[in-house]
Subunit: 383 residues, 2 copies
């Protein structure tokens, strides 16, 4: 068995999720794996009701509240099932907020999240009561065109869609209808005004930890309205009143998330993550913009994601041979997981919090070099 | 940062769950935490669709199939939500197996599991269609007294109840009605004939890993009958046809579980776990039996659990002062997590697979010493 200081080979992991974690977090988890703070046991082996684990759980909650400035009238829960689980949990908990079934309606953006959400939502009420809002071409429709039902139980949207790379830069105005937001892919990358939301949820495996734990933040007045059929592990009232301990929580994932919250605090908090996010995404988009068509990103700059940056090579339809070459050379050089989502192809760079400014700059340098060496192939008759 | 070979203080963790893991598993996880097999990344950082993680997932499934001799007409899934999640998933997936609502019925044993299960089951059909079977005093009713509805959609039971320490030693006969079993607390501690079951599920945090992943084994003919309202993460058909990758699985928990399966194979498989389980539980029960009333376990020997062994000191009602003293001295000596469940009090020894025969014998020795030193206090007027 080796020493903890062993060097590993150079890689930068740009995975869309599960994604890179801060190396200091992994080193601390490694050090504490067999014996957590002289308890003689691993965090994995601790009863979820033990004093040691309670401290881990409560400290994680406290740090998240501090980082996001969560108001006191919101509950914070750490649940299982990821964003896809919440696609069911949200309607089970909120559809009954308005009396009767007829006025339950939602409003959803962006194709992939919409599709997955709808699968879970449709059985719960008549499709005619939905107000889905999305476009074939990934973009955010003009707010003036939104035809929001003021009698809707809630409005759901996805703050950042990872496949096409579309991000909301402002919070939609819903005129009092509770707003539900999936923030899995941009939570803690920018300050947010939590008080504008009814429910915020986020799977941990992008910005805040490892897969298996889901952060759910709920305004207290929305608790206690769950449908009878709501599974108890998804019931916000039940979980909130049990401090996320109604059933055994994913204890080790909660611990890793807590380490990430500590790391973010040490880095200067959300304001610092926000600055880094701008610098990192600008580094990549600048290469695209200045590439004179070598790299193509069809998205309007106003809705371009800072955490998921998809682009093609040669044209908006892409060039399969050059994209394959790009991915092969990138992987060889240690730049990992840059392949676009299987539904759209091309290249995708994910720049979550654990990717440093320096690492984004290194990739930008690789992109410039690749362009210089391969531009002549774009017009080559063999392509 | 220390060396991986650092010694830690002597403790034995008898927690009821999350519970002890084999130290070799923790050491391997520690070694691979920052850099999994020279990939340059942690398992936590791997895309769930990457080749490296696919191999981890598929190997874990293959090893579990081998260990439990799972027939080919069964699907194996690794899901989120634990046993409590499956308390909802089971009725959502199976209630529609029989036509109409009237003949959906279940049959359940043992108080705590019954209570939790009922919370999730009642909203799904009329209580009058349930055939709950349990007794106030924890025990397994005589099979001849079971009034099983042959038109039930399925029969559910919990193979080992952790609070009172009641375990089924045989598989209930349901005459063709699909049998559903929660095996969280005794899976892989004894050979089972999987072909007798419709569904087997088990949270990992007792015998097979860390909290956050749930093993679900389903006979193929039971797939495809889910209610429209079934959350997609719980839909057996959806998850089975996506190889547990419909949504992001709890990747690191799957990895740890895979390490545990490897460890069990290396120890000689389920037959070896079964032998150890008998030896370990006998070591403790023998001390109780030979204690002349110092340690009391009111359960009938025929249904005593081999994995969760509850007992009292002095009488079946217990002796608060002596039990407190026992727990304090045990903790001081390194024997951890021996407090009985908060609903019943007393002492509880959990002997899952990762607790060795040697460790159970050490605890038996401690129990004998404590008895010798404290028997005089039982009749003391100060008690």
């Amino acid at each position: 068995m080796g020493d903890l200081r062993d060097e590993k080979k150079f890689v930068i992991n740009f995975s869309a999720g599960p994604a890179k974690l801060p190396e200091t977090v992994l080193r601390q988890a490694q050090k504490e794996m067999v014996d957590y703070q002289d308890t003689g046991v691993s965090v994995m082996e601790m009863s979820h009701r033990s004093a040691d684990f309670s401290k881990i759980l409560n400290t994680a909650e406290q740090n998240l509240r501090e980082l996001l400035e969560v108001p006191d009238n919101y509950k914070v829960m750490f649940l299982q099932g990821g964003g896809t689980g919440q696609f069911s949990a949200v309607p089970f908990n909120l559809m009954k907020l308005k009396p009767g079934e007829s006025n339950a309606a939602v409003f959803v953006f962006v194709l992939r999240a919409l599709n997955l959400y709808m699968i879970n939502l449709f059985p719960l009420h008549a499709p005619s009561n939905l107000t889905p809002l999305c476009s074939d071409f990934p973009a955010i429709p003009e707010p003036s065109t939104w035809n929001l039902n003021p009698e809707a139980s809630y409005v759901y949207y996805c703050a950042n869609e990872t496949v096409h790379g579309v991000e909301f830069k402002t919070i939609p105005e819903t005129n009092g209808v509770p707003l539900v937001c999936d923030m899995s892919s941009n939570i803690l990358t920018r300050p947010i005004d939590v008080s504008k939301f009814g429910v915020i949820f986020a799977g941990a495996q992008k910005n805040i930890g490892c897969a298996g734990v889901t952060v759910v933040i709920v305004r207290e007045d929305l608790l206690g309205h769950a449908m009878d059929l709501c599974p108890s592990i998804f019931n916000y009232q039940v979980q909130a009143s049990n401090n996320s301990l109604y059933n055994t929580p994913p204890t080790y994932s909660v611990y890793i998330m807590g380490l990430v919250f500590n790391w973010i605090k040490g880095q200067g908090g959300v304001a610092s993550m926000d600055r880094n996010s701008s610098v990192k995404s600008s580094a990549i988009y600048t290469v695209v913009e200045e590439s004179e068509g070598f790299y193509c990103c069809p998205l309007d700059a106003a809705c371009r994601s800072r955490t998921n940056l998809p682009f093609r090579i040669g044209s908006v339809e892409g060039n399969d041979a050059l994209e394959k070459k790009f991915l092969e050379e990138a992987t060889k050089a240690g730049y990992l997981q840059l392949k676009g989502h299987r539904s759209v192809g091309g290249i995708r760079v994910s720049l979550y919090n654990a990717v440093s400014v320096e690492e984004a700059n290194l990739l930008a340098g690789f992109m410039r070099n690749f362009m210089a060496e391969n531009r002549h192939l774009l017009d080559s008759p063999t392509q």
